[in-house]
């Protein structure tokens, strides 16, 4: 147990260091981008006086390092600051957006992960026969088509032609959970199609790998059915690579859904981040960057730890 604890602590410290580096990178990156927040807010209608006034009000005349340090100080006190463009409290707005993103990701994961694993098992059971080929063909096709195109196609046929689901997935407070679920039906379907193939292929490959082992042959000779062999003997032993790829895809569901959010006008983190990057609203970009990096690092950490714990050789190193 001590080993596992030490491992988690190590990974956690490393994660924090990574987060800090990410925040430095984002800050420098945003500084390099052309134009500043004052210019971006006023856009084509900027006059020199208005620019100067806005820069002074936003505190942009301070040196960059001082701005970074004061931001960092705030973060350590749990204060993400206020958005330069709209003056809103970042933590509040971000919290709501993150909630929405997690809501969408959660439902996409609830559908896609079991489905992918089940399809993977099915593909192994009927290896090289028509169910395997059909599953592979469909999932590979769906991962190869750009997600915005899948979005538009579903929007047109399911939303406009059949009228089964709304094409605009704007959810807001005051909707019941059923209304929300109906509203996000199409984006969830698109996300499921996008992440399905990766997880399903990995499940199939990992289990096939284990199926070559001697103990599988033993199980077969005991007279177990093929599906039971796969489920009881092969699957537990291939859990590490599967968890790895599942975690990667879960991370994608949180940090990589900008396109789907834009296509379905879903009020999540992606759209929020993009709007603020184009306005050079540094504190918000920093905060979003931290959250995204945190999610990514966290899920990868979970994958690492699970794969170590599930492997006796790694659990008890010599």
């Amino acid at each position: 147990m001590g080993v596992a604890l030490k491992l988690v602590a190590q990974r956690f410290a490393l994660g924090l260091l990574l987060l800090f580096l990410v925040s430095v990178l984002i800050f420098v990156g945003t500084l390099i981008l052309p134009g500043d927040v004052a210019q971006s807010i006023l856009g084509q209608s900027a006059t020199p006086e208005a620019l100067a006034n806005l820069r002074r009000d936003l505190g942009l005349n301070e040196p960059a390092l001082a701005r970074y340090l004061s931001w960092l100080g705030g973060v350590f006190h749990g204060d993400l600051g206020t958005a330069l463009t709209s003056g809103q409290d970042i933590a509040t707005t971000l919290g709501r957006r993150l909630g929405n993103t997690l809501f969408l990701a959660f439902w996409a994961a609830v559908i896609s992960v079991p489905l992918a694993i089940f399809l993977g098992l099915l593909a192994v059971r009927y290896r090289d026969r028509w169910p395997d080929k059909l599953i592979s063909a469909v999932t590979l096709a769906s991962i190869s088509i750009p997600e915005f195109l899948i979005g538009y196609v579903l929007m047109y046929f399911v939303g406009v032609k059949l009228g089964w689901a709304p094409t605009v997935a704007t959810i807001y407070d005051g909707m019941s959970i059923w209304q929300k679920l109906q509203t996000i039906a199409l984006p969830v379907a698109v996300l499921t199609l996008v992440v399905l193939a990766h997880m399903m292929r990995m499940t199939r490959a990992a289990i096939l790998n284990v199926m070559q082992s001697a103990y599988i042959e033993t199980a077969e000779l005991k007279g177990l059915t093929t599906f039971k062999v796969i489920w009881r003997h092969a699957f537990p032993n291939s859990i590490a690579p599967i968890v790895n790829v599942v975690m990667l895809n879960l991370a994608y569901l949180v940090v990589g859904v900008v396109v789907v959010e834009v296509v379905f006008t879903y009020p999540g983190m992606g759209q929020y981040l993009v709007d603020h990057v184009s306005k050079r609203d540094l504190p918000v970009v920093q905060a979003c960057g931290l959250v995204f990096a945190g999610v990514y690092i966290g899920l990868n950490m979970v994958a690492d730890i699970v794969s170590i714990l599930s492997n006796p050789r790694l659990r008890h190193p010599k």
């Binding site: 006023l42 208005a50 306005k279």
Partner: protein
Amino acid sequence: MSRELEFLSKQVAFGRISRRNFLGRAAALGVTAVSANALLSSAVRAAGPMKGGTIKVGIEGGSTTDTMDPALSTNNTSTMLLRLWGEPLVELGPNNSLEGRVAESWSGSADASVWTFKIRPDITFSNGKTVTAEDVKATMERHSGEDTKSGALGIMRSIKSMKAEGNDFIVELADPNADLPYLMTDYHLIIQPNGGKDDPNAAIGTGPYVIKSSEPGVRFVAEKNPNHWDSSQGHVDTVEMIVINDDTARVAALQSGQVDMIDRVPPRTAKLVSRAPGITVYSKSGPGHYVFIMRCDAAPFDNSDLRMALKYGINRQEMVDKILFGYGSLGNDTPINASYPLFTPVEQREYDPDKAAFHFKKSGHEGPVLLRTSDNSFPGAPDASALFQQSLDKAGIALEIKREPNDGYWSEVWNKQPFCTSYWSGRPVQDQMFSTAYLSTADWNDTAFKNEQFDQLLVAARGELDDAKRKQMYTDMSEILRNDGGLICPMFNDFVDGVSDKVGGWDEKTSGFGLMNLYAPVKTWVAG
């Protein structure tokens, strides 16, 4: 027109038969869809507005970074929002006329240098406070002066002093300006209690609606303001605005009935959308135009022959056909078109490769000309640049196209680089358009055009109260700009809106922006 058709159109107006049904019967009577539609809309208007219900607007332009402060409003979404909860002193009416909103009436001194606005008595802000001339003065103060961040600052600079006397708001100008009431229609200049100095984001004004829920860049909900003074506006109980920036998603939302009206239907698909059942596409010409701008003070565009060569080398008709898909009109190298009140047509400049080659040779310039463009400078700008390249090629002029990123285009390329693509949304009157972008000293003189005669004419026209003389002056100015300026204006883009048949009271004649000058949710109603 047959009696039967008239009867049928009234039936639709009262919601007894559907619009689709009506069009079918009209076709059976041998009437074209266009004239049947026209008949229908006049019948619906005549039936009068219906009260109640909800109108949902799918609108482009909103961003999560938007605020409620009128001074910082920059896009369609925030402007429509302002029109829900607030009102300016004066607003544009049909055919470029003016109608009073917070101001009941107004008058200018004989030399147009002092203007008096009479504030409508007994109207209240949505917080119950009565509107006074002091509130108006405070509003104007917040948009002017050294410290302001307002987008309306350019307009306010010409004001020398302001005062509030009883119910009158009096403006004294540094130079006479006959167009001052038009300037007061600027969308930033929403009258707020104490000018919004206490809380610019409070969204408290005199408009027909009150904002109930606001999530910038996502969704806004407004409910009827029961105390609004004007019963000819605010027919529906609830207005919902949903920000949908993706073109395809916006059109799909209209087609699936999730919203009742959308702005900026992409010209490429507008014809297809108009064929969908239950949807009408309205196209309205306006002052907005897509431009190629050359800075007259930067080499090689400081050469008037080179500028002329490029002006002759652009095929305007091709641009209107292929970039706007017919939803627009020909430009003529001046920012002014028929949507301006004192407009007289100037001879149309045609594509002429021979003249272009002649002027190019005369300019003595050698080698290619560099044009910068980006997707967001106007829809289809890179394609338009490629068309320009081909049409210039026939005149033996090489155009090199450099694609710039959208991000930072307005801060790094526009108004800085010598030759680039851009757009103007236009202004209600000539004076404002010329003063904003072509006066030597203007902040946004993006063509760096400096012409003494032009400047003198502009100032003289402001104080000229004789319309015929003013009209002549503006024609002369357009002529100067067209021959000597750095502006290549190939096309004026139409506003293309998509509207569900559920919406009654649509008026195509409203001047200004699309969606009935962004007043659509305020002026239309649910027709059943």
